[in-house]
């Protein structure tokens, strides 16, 4: 168990222990992992846990652990979560060994079956005991799988929610809508896997991509911080003159976003705009302008941006958010009100941040963006929530110390081949130079190598994966109500016990950017008005400026101011005409003069 240690914060010495692990539990989880491996994951280690040894053998993950080897003798659980749980307990030492020394663990699991519903909560518990930061991606079963499986899934979800730092749920019913009905069941599951693997990647990218305006795990938590909610996730990548617009379009087209309509309801949305070094501030601004049209007036926009050489000429937009499911909205109204009372903006940079932007390469003009958001936050009022898929980003109450994470060079994957094909191309050319220097330690590279092997082995065995895809929820197995332990989640308690979270955010930020944030989403949500200490609703430019400590950064900021915002006269409201990154609507005379 890794004890939280204040001393560690300052020098942050032990790089050897940083790692991300993605754990797939059960058939569905394994499928997602296979998908990730297929699409080439170079940062995270993949670990498959399953009871069914046959399914396990087809998995392409680098690590595999068989659950319940003696209990089940290599067979599945038959849809019985209690068996799944027993099986996991049997392998507890192995699991503990596997998660130990990882700072961040993603668990993907298809709930409803025996292994997923039974073992996943155990895995989560072990992971939490090991003090890792835990994000769970869970798929809820199709409604045609029956009420019983749904019930099992709900129970498991509830248990998982107690251990996980964040739970993102995907509703298979909703996934089904993404696919043409006549598509084969294999494609259907493959598409769902793809979306989940995409989300995992995007989450990793968002948090770990070196940012100019960074987004940390804390921001991610804020974006997902609604109980019983559905996750909104969108991702787009584009190239060319109009890439900012196209990338955003694609992101909004992502099915979970419903063309951006659902963003109106979101209380907090996290947006990351990333591009190669050619990305201009203007493009970032375009994206944000556009986004602001979709979000409600009280929405908190968590904005981050970064450059990444690997992206080449493409520009990516990632949107992560959550909205309340119908059930939650009623019970949470009071909290909602208090939150919505104070619209706030959070950027990856805060006025109370220590001067430490020095690691970022090209630069940013935070103040510039903030002003825009102030103006544009007032968009349409939120619409009533529509139930589609659910997300839980439950606050964690575990009094355990918090993990630190490591920046890992981001992974970057297309959501669908057609739309995002471009993104695959720049990928191999990525060089680790964009990772801030601190992070380029040998240990990190060493960590990568097994994963690369893994990707290879994965290529060898695409058929096995495809076969697996169809297997995801186990239709054949009769659902049974196992002896679940009573899963009462006490959310009030969760909300008040917030010290944990503070620690978390501190660790994250100091590890990655050196900035220290005192924001505590949990206490904020219980105290009422939104995060007053670190997110003043209107952050004046002067407040931001000190954040740029290094001369370099300051210079860059000035340089970027050259891009005039106003200055367009009668063309201020038209589609901009951009050639070679210059806005031609601004008088040539003014542009050339500078």
């Amino acid at each position: 168990m890794i004890e939280y240690n204040q001393a560690e914060l300052s020098d942050f010495p032990d790089r050897a222990e940083f790692g991300i692990k993605v754990i797939g539990v059960g058939g569905a989880g394994a499928n997602v992992l296979d998908r990730m491996a297929l699409e080439g994951s170079d940062e995270a280690e993949l670990l498959t846990l399953n009871t069914d040894v046959r399914a396990l053998s087809t998995s392409v993950s680098s690590e595999k652990i068989q659950l319940g080897a003696t209990l089940l003798k290599g067979m599945g659980t038959g849809g019985d979560p209690s068996l799944g749980k027993q099986a996991a307990i049997e392998a507890v030492d192995e699991i503990r060994q596997a998660v130990r020394n990882n700072k961040m663990v993603f668990v993907c699991v298809g709930l409803g079956g025996g292994t997923g519903s039974g073992a996943a909560p155990e895995v989560c518990r072990i992971a939490r005991e090991e003090g890792v930061f835990l994000v769970v991606f869970a798929t809820m079963p199709f409604s045609f799988e029956g009420e019983r499986r749904m019930e099992q899934a709900r129970r498991a979800l509830e248990q998982i929610g107690r251990y996980a730092n964040a739970v993102i749920t995907f509703d298979n019913d909703r996934m089904g809508e993404l696919i043409v009905p006549k598509d084969g069941v294999t494609q259907a599951f493959a598409a769902a896997d793809k979306i989940i693997s995409q989300s995992i990647r995007a989450t990793m990218n968002v948090v770990f991509r070196p940012g100019l305006i960074r987004i940390g795990m804390d921001d991610l938590l804020t974006a997902l911080d609604t109980d019983d909610s559905r996750c909104l996730f969108g991702y787009g990548v584009a190239k060319g003159d109009n890439r900012s617009h196209e990338a955003l379009e694609q992101a909004l087209k992502c099915p979970l976003l419903d063309r951006g309509k659902l963003l109106e309801e979101a209380k907090a949305i996290l947006i990351q705009v990333a591009g190669g070094e050619t990305m201009t501030l203007y493009e970032v601004q375009l994206v944000m302008d556009e986004i602001s049209k979709h979000v409600g007036k009280n929405t908190q926009i968590l904005f981050g941006t970064g450059t990444d050489k690997r992206l080449g000429n493409s520009l990516t937009v990632t949107i992560i958010s959550s909205i309340n499911g119908p059930a939650a909205s009623a019970s949470r109204t009071s909290v909602d009100e208090s939150r919505e009372a104070a619209p706030s903006i959070s950027l990856g940079m805060h006025s109370d941040a220590p001067p430490s932007l020095s690691q970022s390469t090209p630069s940013h003009e935070a103040a510039f963006n903030i002003q825009d958001y102030e103006e544009e936050e007032e968009v349409q009022p939120a619409r009533p929530p529509v139930p589609l898929s659910r997300t839980q980003a439950q606050p964690m109450r575990d009094p355990e110390p918090e993990p630190e994470f490591e920046d890992v060079s981001p992974i970057f994957e297309p959501l669908s081949d057609e739309n995002f094909a471009e993104s695959t191309q720049p990928l191999p050319s990525y060089s680790p130079e964009t990772v801030p220097a601190v992070l380029r330690k040998p240990e990190l590279r060493a960590l990568k190598s097994p994963v690369e092997d893994d990707a290879d082995s994965d290529l060898r065995n695409p058929i096995a994966r495809a076969m697996d895809a169809g297997r995801e929820p186990d239709f054949n197995r009769p659902p049974s109500l196992g002896d679940h332990e009573p899963a009462e989640v006490d959310r009030v308690e969760a909300v008040t016990e917030s010290s944990q979270k503070i620690t978390l955010t501190r660790m994250v930020s100091s590890g990655n950017t050196g900035r220290i944030k005192t924001r505590d989403p949990l206490s904020a949500s219980s105290d009422g008005p939104t995060f007053p200490q670190s997110k003043p609703p209107a952050m004046p430019r002067e407040d931001i400026a000190p954040a740029y400590a290094s001369d370099e950064a300051r210079q860059q900021q000035e340089m970027l101011q050259l891009e005039p915002v106003g200055g367009k006269g009668r063309f201020a409201k038209t589609d901009p005409t951009i050639v070679d990154g210059e806005d031609l609507d601004v008088p040539t005379f003014l542009r050339k003069k500078r």
């Binding site: 200055g567 367009k568 006269g569 009668r570 063309f571 038209t574 589609d575 005409t577 050639v579 031609l584 609507d585 008088p587 040539t588 005379f589 003014l590 050339k592």
Partner: protein, 402 residues
């Protein structure tokens, strides 16, 4: 059909809505019967942004055109432009069936289909597919291969395409007036019909139509369109620049531009100009010219760049023809010549009869060109028959990306 040779050209420009009613006589000459125009509003950069306002202007222009020409206008040819319109050249090749030998019109359709089969962005549709040349068994520059013997038929097409919905919006706007849109024509294609004569097209010419919101160009080499496009910068930008730099209202900036401004910095006499109505605010002529020069230079460079890259500029035997309202600007020919290095002439439409003095004004090149375009379509029509033509048109407007 007596009325079928009266055509109406409509251009919804950034500065004006202009409707021209013209009659094509049996000898092929065009007579302008009447013109209705109205200052435009609700159009930016050549595209409609406020349909309701545009419709008001359109209605006004229609009334005037009908009144002057004494013709009831039902259908129009609509000029479209906008930065979304792009062009490319593509070659299609087919093998003529062995037993057939002689090339038929079906073969031409087939080769056209293949030549057009280029991957467009999925939101784009074809506006024009203009034949450049046919090649039969390697023999090039054949204007009409029908009836020739050959095995391999190739065709170079110049394809102009744009975002379907943006074009449909323009059509929808006109339909709600209500007027039927007979065909849509990319503005410079229309303007070229009257500005460039056959000789110019054959020897090579570049037409640059600098309008209010956009600058459209079309380049002819060896009698065929080799390049065309649109840069969404026009006279409005120049006015806007002046207003922003000098911090004066747009109306005064416009006046300053028209009366005193010049795109050229040569022969400059730096005098203080008094801005009307601005309580004696003075502006230096030099500054004004610099502002305009900077913009015009940039604009023309944007046109110059792709053409120079493809090497068409060396083949412009007849040089450059400037048209459009902004080509009336002083000094612009000089600047153009400086950039392109070929002779430049300002030109409006010519060879029209009727109350035509007006229409030699370069502002009217596009709408008058629409009449000529309509006439050319009519000449081709007997080959196809009206119905199939209509079908093709529908396909063209709404049509698939095929």
């Amino acid at each position: 059909m007596a009325s079928s040779n009266i055509y109406v050209g409509l251009e919804i420009g950034t500065s004006k809505v202009c409707m021209v009613v013209g009659e094509v006589r049996s000898d092929g000459a065009i007579k302008i019967l009447g013109v209705g125009q109205h200052p435009s509003a609700g159009v930016r950069k050549g595209e409609i942004v406020d349909p309701e306002t545009v419709q008001t202007c359109l209605h006004d222009a229609l009334m005037r055109a009908e009144e002057r020409s004494d013709v009831e206008v039902n259908t129009v040819f609509l000029a479209v432009t906008g930065s979304h319109i792009q062009s490319l050249n593509n070659r299609g090749t087919i093998r003529v069936a062995d037993e057939q030998m002689e090339i038929t019109s079906e073969d031409l359709d087939e080769v056209k289909k293949i030549a057009r089969d280029v991957p467009l962005p999925k939101e784009n549709g074809y506006i024009h597919s203009i034949i450049q040349h046919y090649y039969v068994d390697g023999q090039d520059r054949i204007p009409n291969p029908i009836g020739m013997l050959g095995q391999k038929l190739e065709a170079d097409y110049h394809i102009i395409h744009g975002v379907k919905t943006r074009i449909q919006n323009a059509i929808k706007c006109v339909r709600e007036v209500p007027l039927e849109v007979e065909d849509i024509v990319f503005s410079p294609v229309a303007a070229a019909q009257v500005v460039l004569n056959r000789e110019a097209k054959n020897e090579g010419a570049l037409l640059i139509d600098i309008g209010g919101g956009t600058t459209d160009y079309i380049c002819f080499v060896d009698g065929a369109v080799v390049a065309s496009g649109c840069v969404s910068i026009g006279g409005d930008h120049i006015t806007n620049d002046i207003a922003l730099v000098l911090k004066i209202p747009l109306a005064r900036a416009e006046k300053l531009k028209v009366t005193h401004g010049s795109a050229s910095l040569k022969g400059l006499v730096d005098v203080e100009l008094v801005v009307e109505g601005e309580s004696g605010k003075k502006v230096s002529q030099e500054l004004l010219n610099q502002i305009m020069n900077a913009r015009v230079n940039e604009l023309l460079s944007l046109v110059h760049e792709p053409l120079a890259k493809q090497g068409y500029l060396d083949r412009l035997g007849k040089g450059i023809f400037l048209t459009g309202g902004s080509s009336l600007m002083k000094g612009i020919a000089e600047v153009t010549e400086g950039i392109f290095g070929v002779p430049v002439q300002k030109s409006g439409s010519s060879s029209m009869s009727g109350p035509s003095a007006l229409f030699e004004n370069p502002q009217y090149a596009t709408p008058v060109g629409l009449i000529r375009y309509a006439q050319l379509l009519e000449e081709q029509r007997p080959k196809k028959g009206r119905l199939s033509k209509l079908g093709e048109k529908i396909e063209k407007i709404f049509g698939g990306s095929r």
